[in-house]
Structures are given as C-alpha cells and as structure tokens.
C-alpha cells in the first residue's frame, strides 16, 4: 500500500505541515521508523524520540508539531488517528473467496456470497455463514450456527452448535465458543451433569483473542455485547451477560451468571465471581479479585505489588496476624483513654 501525506490528511481531517505528495509505504515507531514510514507521538514523554525520528511523517498533537524534524499531520488524538490509518498497511495475507476443496460442509449448510472457507474446515448441518465471512483452516462450525456477514474466524477455532455471531466479529485461533457451562449438581456420591440448553450470542464488531473460552448458557444464553474487545485466554462462564464496548484483558475469568455493564475495562488476570452485577464504566485493575457487585462506575483494585522476597515474607506473615494486630491496637487506644480519664 502506498498513501501520500495528502491522502492521509484528507482521510483524517488532519492539518498537514509538509509536502502532500510525500509517499508513505509503511508504519514505524518513532525510534525504529525508516524513511517511507509513518509514525506517531501519543505520549509526550517520548518527545525526544520525535526529535530524532527518521520517519517520513508523524501524527501528533499541535503542541508537539514544532519539535518534529519531519512533516507532521496534526490531529487531536494521535493514537486513534494511527489506528485508523493502520488498516491500510495490514500485513495479513489476502483472502481468497470460495470453498476450499478440502472443506467438509454439510449439504444443508448455507454459505454466503464471497465467503472464504479454508482447508479442513468442517461445517455441520443447517449452519449459515454470512456473505464475505472467512472461516480459516481446521476450524469447526457446529450445527445450526448462525454467523453473520464479514466475520473472520482464524484457524483451529471451535464454534459449538447453535452459536450466533454478529457481523464483522473477529475470533482468533484456538478459541472455543459455546462449550458447556460448568453445571453439575452434587448427588451425595458424585456429580450429575446439568445439560446446558442455552447458547452463546455474540454481537456485531466484537474482537475475540486466541485461546478464549465462552460457555453456552445453562438455560438462558450467554451474551457478548456489540463492540466488545476480549484479549487472549479469557474465560467467560455460562449465563454471563456483558454490555456493549466492554474491554477484557488477557487471562481474565468471569464466573457464571454475572452481569457486566457497558464500556467497562478489566485488566489482565482479574477474577470475577458469579452472580454479581457490575455497573457501566466500571474499571478493574489487573489481578483484582471481584467478589461483590460493583454498583457505581469507577476504578477498583485489590492486587498486592511485588516486593523483594525478604520484605514480602515478613509482611505476608504479618498479614495472617492482622486481625490480632487490629485488636491489640484497639486495646492500646482504650488503655491510653482509660489512663487519661483516670488522671
């Protein structure tokens, strides 16, 4: 792909300081960009890299423009502007429409116009793949799935029977959608399976990473809101409902029947217990344990930051004495109060 600075300025509505005919053929960081590449400055503390960049042009805010040795496209949000332009330089291989002769597709399945079905893909009875959707090699689409238009499913993905996936949703390799929820009743001598008769419904424009697992509902469906972004190795249990635009970083686990609002943000390795309600715009920092509902927007945390082993060991021992320490502190306060009142 070749874009001129004029093209980019036009697409972004950016103010161009430089020659509009200069061509950009790739993307680079301020530090590593070579001539021909476009870069961006989002965080002002990297300004020294701006001052020495070899990029052919830089996206930045107006206040940084004077420090650039190269042409500048002035924008309000350089990271967002970079994201918008980055799609022109995608390096994913082009997709060939059509069904690979080595795909295994049930005769009752419906494959939309322009869809691309890779080698060894298996599509079961009555599944429907929307126009322009891409199912890459070695993926499995269960019976009765409904996959809308423009969906991209990478290799080795498993979609269980009856799952519904919205338009333009992207699912990375190795993910599993619609597996059984962890539902069992204890009989006194063992576990009796609760058959999981709900499914998973994923909205439009969702992005799901690699190695993600999303369980089907026990009775009602598990629901993934439109525009959500979900990082690798996230686990979402049965009956969970998540609102539009929520972001979930890697290795987060959400237990069953929890309901999460819109535009929430979860850091990596957060654990969320079951049957909770989380409001819209809740933010939870990495590794936090959420065991109660969070009814107000705001930021929450509970992780303990790393310390040297020696200090940590001493403090961790004291943690187990905390309640006793609190009582001793109270006793001291009382003793001093009593002493004073006795004066």
């Amino acid at each position: 792909m070749v874009l001129t600075l004029g093209d980019i300025a036009e697409e972004l509505g950016a103010e161009l300081h430089g020659d509009p005919s200069i061509a950009v053929t790739g993307l680079g960081t301020l530090k590593s960009a070579r001539p021909g590449e476009l870069s961006f400055l989002a965080n002002p503390r990297y300004r020294s890299w701006l001052e020495s960049t070899q990029a052919s042009a830089v996206l930045c805010r107006a206040d940084q423009q004077p420090f650039s040795p190269v042409p500048v496209l002035v924008v309000k949000d350089p990271h967002l502007a970079y994201a918008q332009i980055s799609r022109h330089f995608d390096i994913a291989p082009p997709v060939t429409p059509g069904v690979h002769p080595r795909a295994v597709i049930d005769s009752s399945a419906i494959i939309g116009a322009g869809a691309s079905i890779g080698a060894n893909v298996v599509i079961e009875a009555d599944a429907e793949i929307g126009p322009g959707s891409v199912i890459m090699a070695n993926s499995f689409i269960g019976a009765g799935c409904h996959i809308a238009e423009g969906v991209h499913i990478w290799p080795n993905v498993t979609i269980y029977h009856g799952v519904v996936i919205g338009a333009r949703t992207n699912i990375h390799a190795g993910s599993v959608i619609g597996c059984d929820g962890f539902g069992f009743a204890f009989s006194g001598s063992g576990w009796t399976k609760v058959y999981q008769v709900g499914t998973v419904r994923i909205g439009n424009d969702v992005d799901i990473g690699a190695g993600v697992t999303i369980d089907r509902g026990a009775i009602d469906d598990t629901v993934i809101g439109a525009g959500m972004i979900i990082d690798n190795q996230v686990h979402i249990a049965h009956n969970v409902q998540v609102g539009e635009g929520t972001a979930i970083a890697a290795q987060v686990g959400v237990a069953g029947s929890t309901s999460i609002g819109r535009f929430c943000v979860f850091g990596g390795q957060v654990g969320i217990a079951g049957h909770l309600q989380l409001a819209d715009q809740v933010q939870v920092l990495g590794k936090t344990m959420v065991t109660g509902s969070l009814n107000k927007a705001g930021t929450y945390a509970s992780g303990i930051p790393a310390d040297s082993q020696d200090k940590w060991r001493k403090n961790a021992v004291r943690f187990r004495q905390l309640d006793e320490m609190a009582k001793r502190l109270r006793a001291l306060e009382k003793r001093l109060d009593d002493d004073n009142s006795a004066d």
Copy 2:
C-alpha cells in the same frame, strides 16, 4: 423430547401436585420459562419469581409448593432433580456412528462398535477407541492411546501418545492431554530437557472443559480420579494425582507432583504449588494461593477483595509496611507496660 409430568414424577420419585398428563417440551428459568417448559426453584430467595412463573411445572421443595401458581413436582433437592431431567432436553446434535471418510486412521488402530469418528480426525498407530465413543472433527489421538467406551471428545482436542481415558469421560474442544511436563535441568548455561516418560491416566465419568492442559508424568503417571469435574483453562502439571469426585473451577493451576484428595472443591484461578499434599474434602475459595500442604478437610482462602482504587492504593502501600507496623505496635505495648510498672 416430550415428557409428561407423570413421566417426570416417576423418574424422580417426586410427589406431583397437578395433572400427570401435562406435557413438557423444554426447560426454562422461573423468570423466562414459557408455557410448555419445566423450571425449578433451588434458592428460596427467588420465591417471588416462582409466584409469577409462566412455566408449565416447577420442581421445588415441599415448603415452596404452596407458593406456586402452576403444577409442582415436590423433590428434596430441586437442582439435582433438574439436572437429572435436563438430559432429556439436551440440544447437542445427534451423533452418527461410523468413521467419516475424511478421518485418517492408522491401520493398526482399533475402533469399537458404534463409535463415531469425525472428519479430519487423526488416529495414530495402535490406538484403541472404545464402543460408542465419539471423536469429533479435527481432533488428534496419539499412538497407543486407550480410550474406553462411551467417551466423548469434542473438536480440535489433542490426546498425546499413550494416554488412557476411562469410560464415559467427556473432553471439550481445544483441550490437550498428555503434553510434556515442564521438566528441565539447568546446566549452568542453559536448560536440558527431562524427557517425560510417564503418561496421563484419566478415570471413568470425568468431565473436562475446553482449553484444559494436563501434562504427562515425568516418570510415574499423572492421575485424574474417576468422577472429577474440571472447568475450562485448568492446568494440571506432571505427576499430579487427584482423587475421585474432586471439582476444579476455571483457570486453576496445579503445579507438579502435588497430590489432591477426594471430593475437594477449588474455586476459579486458584494456584497450588508443587509437591504438596491436600486432604480429602478440602475446599479452596477462588484466587487463593496454596503454598503449603493442607492436611485437614475444611475451607481455605487468601484472596483480597476489590476496593475502590483510592482506598486500595493506600492499603496496598501499608501492606509493605506491615512488619514495621507490627514492630511499632509491639514497642508501644512494651512502652506502656514499662510506664505502668514504673508507676
């Protein structure tokens, strides 16, 4: 599937309050059930939903029966009763016995009567698949595996060479059983692999979620007890032994050579260090770090619950001063004791 309330009462040994000829064609929650569906009340705090349910019948305890506007099947444990009946309404597609023409099966492998082997399944030399077992599309069964009768393996599963799987065990998509344990010896300049010559032995009636990894033993085998239930993204390291009926929730990790008893229950994201002994009926709450053996049945925990970011930040800083605080507290106590004794 259609069952009458009479059928259900008979199967469960339930006391029926209502017309035995009423037909049930599906399952629903108290809140969402439509006419024709069966529901249940397990937790009394949802009684208001019972009072307004549209279900055709409800499973509940005798004390809740008077509050139901619809026919009731009185049982001791409504959740267990629901689990037992739920299998009649399973929505998983029917399985076709036989070997798909696109399966790749070594001529020395043995496929039991009535087994179903899906498209692109690869079964290596000397593997044995028991009668009625189902190996779904794109799964891999290594050489010399012994898979008993009635096993169900979902798509994209990998079973390494020599793994032994008991009857009626269920393994969800993307799981990996029998990969090498994390065994390496440090040579002073790098890591030398310890070849893992044990295998994995999984008991009867085990349920394994999606994206689970269970390592083969270094020398002796990794052992998964009969009737265990294991949720998604659990990791079980080499040489681990787990007893019958133990339940492990999602994203738990068990490090090498740890031995876990029978009927234990682990919450999500628990981490268990290596070379430990955990007794029968140990329960560990979610996100707990287990670094020592737990020799007595009972419930254990160590997670810190979420707080608002402001409060958390202040408390987390204090955590790193805990040992110093404890010493200052002791000093104050001593000072007061000295003052008093000086009086």
Copy 3:
C-alpha cells in the same frame, strides 16, 4: 533402548560403582523403579527411598553412594545427569519423514529435506519449513513463516503469517503464535483496531508448552530469546522482548511492551504489567503481581498464602482498614511522645 551402565558412565563422565555390563532398559523413581530401570537421587531428604530402591542403578552424588543397595553412577548434579540420559528413553512415537498425502501445502512453500508434515496440516504461500522439522497433524502454518531446521510442532498448533521460529524449537499442541496483539484506540464511542504489522521472532532451542499464546508485535516484533522454556497456558503480549534462557511457568501473563532479561525465572500465575523493564536473573515467585520495573537481579514476591476461611475472612477485612490502622498507630505513638514530653 538398551544402555549398559558402562555406556552411561562414559556419556556422563560418571564414576561407576558396579558392573559396567549391567543393562538399563528404562527409567524409574527410587520408589517405583523395577529391576532394569535407572533412577536418581537429587534431594537428600529422599535418601530412605534410595536405601530401599529396586532400580538396577542410581545416579547420585558421591556422599550418597554408600547408602545405595544397588550400583551407583556418581555425578555432580544427579538431576542434570538424569535429564541427559532421559532422552535415550523417550517414548514419543518415531517420526516418519515425508509429506502426508492429506497435508495441504501451497505450491510456493518450501519443505526441507527429511521434514515430516502430518495429515491435515495446512501450509500457506511462501512458508519455509527447515530440514528435519516436524509439523504434526492438524496444525496451520501461515503464509511467509520461516521455520528453521529440527523444529517440532505438535498437533493443532496455529502459526500466523510471517512468524520466524529458530532451530530445534519445540511447540506443544494447541498453542497460537503470531495472533494479533490487543491494540485498540478508543474513539469516544467504540474501539478502533490498531492493525498489528509486526511479527513474532522465536530463537533457537526454545521450548513452548501447550495452550500458549504469543502475540505479534504492533509495529516492532515480539521477541522470544534463544533457549527459553515456557510452560502451558502462558500469555505473552505484543512487543514483549524476553532474553535468552528465561523460564516461565504455567499461566503467567506478560502485558505489552515489557522487556525481560536473560535467565529470569517466573513461577506460575505471575502477572507482569506492560511497559516495564526486568533485569537479568530476576526471579518472581508464583502468583506475584509485578507492576513496576525490577532493575536488580534477585527474588520478588507478593502472593498471600492460604489460611483457614475463618482466619482469612477476619484478616481480609482488616486489610481494608490498614491505612486507618497505620494512622491510629502513628497517633498513639505521638500521644505517648507528647505525654512523655509533658512529664
């Protein structure tokens, strides 16, 4: 495989106490070894098992030799010596060179001499597989990948386009290398994808477990150093760079753009935030949360060990009062100081 004690002594440079013609046909633990098997004693606290072993020979240090009832190979590091010998007794099935007729290989791909490509493997345009490399069944190798010689890729692995893998690297089943990093810019109303135009470069002699995900770089590459060992279900985000010989245990997550030194060791379930620098030889104990750079070699931790539920509950409540407790402690100290100065 059969080796004599003489063969083993020669390979290891070990001092043999026993008959060099004795044959060893397998490996066993001190406790479980049967005649014909070789065992080892690394940890002196298992000496009682040495004293009763049925093994045909034992690797141990000179000071343990007198306690062995069976022939001994005296070595400095018995675990390392065992690792070196273990490869002779590997039980992985032999690999057949050649391309399986059911592999799907683009005509522009290059397959090295002696490579083994399994059934249903898909290799896209311009990918290159080095001599003697093994790509097992149902794996996917994206366009333009460069896989060096002697690499072993187990089943159901996905390697995205353009990934570079060094010689003799081993990747276990279900892992995903080169999926998109979690890069999105918030537009005010939703998330705009940042196309990930870097790749992943993996060094020589790396060992990667099952269910691992390693993201491609946003612009620059994600780099996995030579000789690294990575356990199951590890997540490594985009732009991360890790130095030679570093070991990462299961379920660790490393967030984006963090740089990790050489010969570090991370315990299971550690979480490392983004944009950090970790020095060489940093060790981090299991479940630790690393939110700041660690500039010095040494051992770090932050996990809280399990306690009984009753004690934990009381202490966890107090954790949320810690800052207040610290202030009350300070107030008491001040009060006593004031009292004393008033005397």
